[in-house]
C-alpha cells in the first residue's frame, strides 16, 4: 500500500518532469526538469529495492551529467528562450507527436498483452538472486567483478576513448588555425602580443608544432 502510493508519487514526478523537458522554451529550464525526472527515477528504484542504483542515479545523473549540461549551456550562453514555432520541415511537429504516440501505443500493447510478466527464469546462483539476504551493493560488486569483468574493463576503455574524443573535439587550436601558423607567408609577419611587443611565445609554439 505504501509502496503503491510511493510508486504513483514517483511516476507523477517523472512524467511531469519529462513533459517539462520537452516543452520548456529555455534550455536551463529543460535541464532542471530533467533533474526532477531523474530524482523521480531514483524514487522508483528505491521502491524496487535497488538502493545502490538509486544513489548512483542521483550522484552520477543529477549530480554530474545534468551539471555538465548546465555548464555547457552557461559556457555557450545559449540560455535564451527558443522559438518553438519554427518548423524547418512542414508538419514536423504533428508527425513527431504521431510517431511518439505510435511508439507508446506499441510498447503499451506489448506490455499489457504479455500479462504473464517476463518470460524465462532468473539465475539459480544465490549470488545473483535479489532475495539472498546480502546487501545489493555487495551483490552488484561481486557479480560485476566476476561474471561481467570483461564488460567492465571494456567500459574503462570506452571512458578513456570518450575523454580523448572530447579533448580532440574541443581543442582550442583547430586544424585550420594550425595550417595558417605553418603557412610561410604568415610566418614572415612578426606576431604581436596584445600590448604590441613581439610575442616570443608564439614562435616557440610554431617550432614545437613543426618538430
Amino acid at each position: 500500500m505504501a509502496e503503491f502510493i510511493t510508486f504513483f508519487f514517483g511516476a507523477a514526478i517523472i512524467l511531469a518532469g519529462a513533459i517539462g523537458v520537452v516543452v520548456a522554451r529555455n534550455a536551463v529550464h529543460s535541464a532542471l526538469f530533467l533533474i526532477q525526472t531523474l530524482l523521480g527515477v531514483a524514487v522508483i528504484f528505491v521502491v524496487q529495492d535497488a538502493h545502490f542504483l538509486a544513489a548512483v542515479q542521483i550522484v552520477v545523473y543529477a549530480g554530474a551529467i545534468v551539471i555538465l549540461f548546465l555548464f555547457v549551456i552557461m559556457l555557450l550562453g545559449v540560455d535564451k528562450a527558443e522559438d518553438l514555432g519554427v518548423e524547418p520541415i512542414a508538419g514536423q511537429k504533428p508527425l513527431a507527436v504521431v510517431v511518439g504516440a505510435s511508439l507508446l501505443a506499441t510498447a503499451i500493447t506489448v506490455v499489457l498483452v504479455a500479462t504473464d510478466g517476463a518470460t524465462g527464469v532468473g539465475s539459480s546462483d544465490p549470488e545473483r538472486q535479489l532475495d539472498s539476504g546480502i546487501l545489493d551493493i555487495e551483490r552488484i560488486g561481486r557479480v560485476l567483478f566476476t561474471e561481467y569483468a570483461v564488460a567492465f574493463q571494456l567500459t574503462a576503455a570506452l571512458l578513456t576513448i570518450g575523454v580523448i574524443g572530447a579533448v580532440v573535439l574541443t581543442r582550442s587550436q583547430s586544424p585550420a588555425d594550425r595550417l595558417d601558423d605553418l603557412d610561410p607567408a604568415s610566418m614572415d609577419l612578426p606576431s604581436l602580443a596584445p600590448d604590441g611587443a613581439n610575442d616570443e611565445h608564439h614562435d616557440d609554439t610554431v617550432e614545437e608544432d613543426a618538430s
Binding site: 535497488a50 555547457v72 545559449v78 507527436v97 511518439g100 506490455v111 499489457l112 538472486q129
Partner: protein, 106 residues
C-alpha cells in the same frame, strides 16, 4: 478496501517506462536545440533503465541492475562526446540548431 489489494506488478513499471521512452522520442523529434535533444535521449535511456530494474526484480536476478550500471556508463560517455561536439559547433557558429549542421560540415 480495494486499494489494499493492489500489488505493484511489472506492467506498472513497464507502462511508466514506455511513457518516458515515448515522451523522450517525441521531444527528440520536436526540439531543434542539440542540448535539449541530448536531454531527451537521457529521458529515453532512463525509461529503459526503469524497465531493466523491473524485469530484474520480476526474475529475482541482479542482471537487470547490472545492465542499468552499464547504461549509466555509456550515457556518461555519450554526454561527454555529445557536449564536446556542441561546443565545437558553437565555436564556429553561434546559436546553431540541429538543422544548421545537417550536412555535417562547417
Amino acid at each position: 478496501m480495494i486499494l489494499a489489494e493492489l500489488a505493484l506488478t511489472p506492467p506498472y513499471y513497464l507502462v511508466l517506462s514506455a511513457l518516458m521512452f515515448a515522451i523522450g522520442a517525441t521531444g527528440l523529434l520536436i526540439r531543434r536545440n542539440p542540448l535539449v535533444m541530448f536531454m531527451c535521449v537521457e529521458l529515453m535511456l532512463n525509461g529503459v533503465n526503469v524497465s531493466f530494474v523491473a524485469f530484474g526484480a520480476d526474475l529475482n536476478d541482479v542482471g537487470g541492475q547490472i545492465s542499468v550500471f552499464f547504461v549509466l556508463v555509456v550515457a556518461a560517455v555519450e554526454v561527454v562526446v555529445g557536449l564536446a561536439l556542441v561546443v565545437a559547433i558553437n565555436r564556429r557558429r553561434a546559436d546553431a540548431t540541429a538543422d544548421d549542421v545537417s550536412l555535417l560540415r562547417g
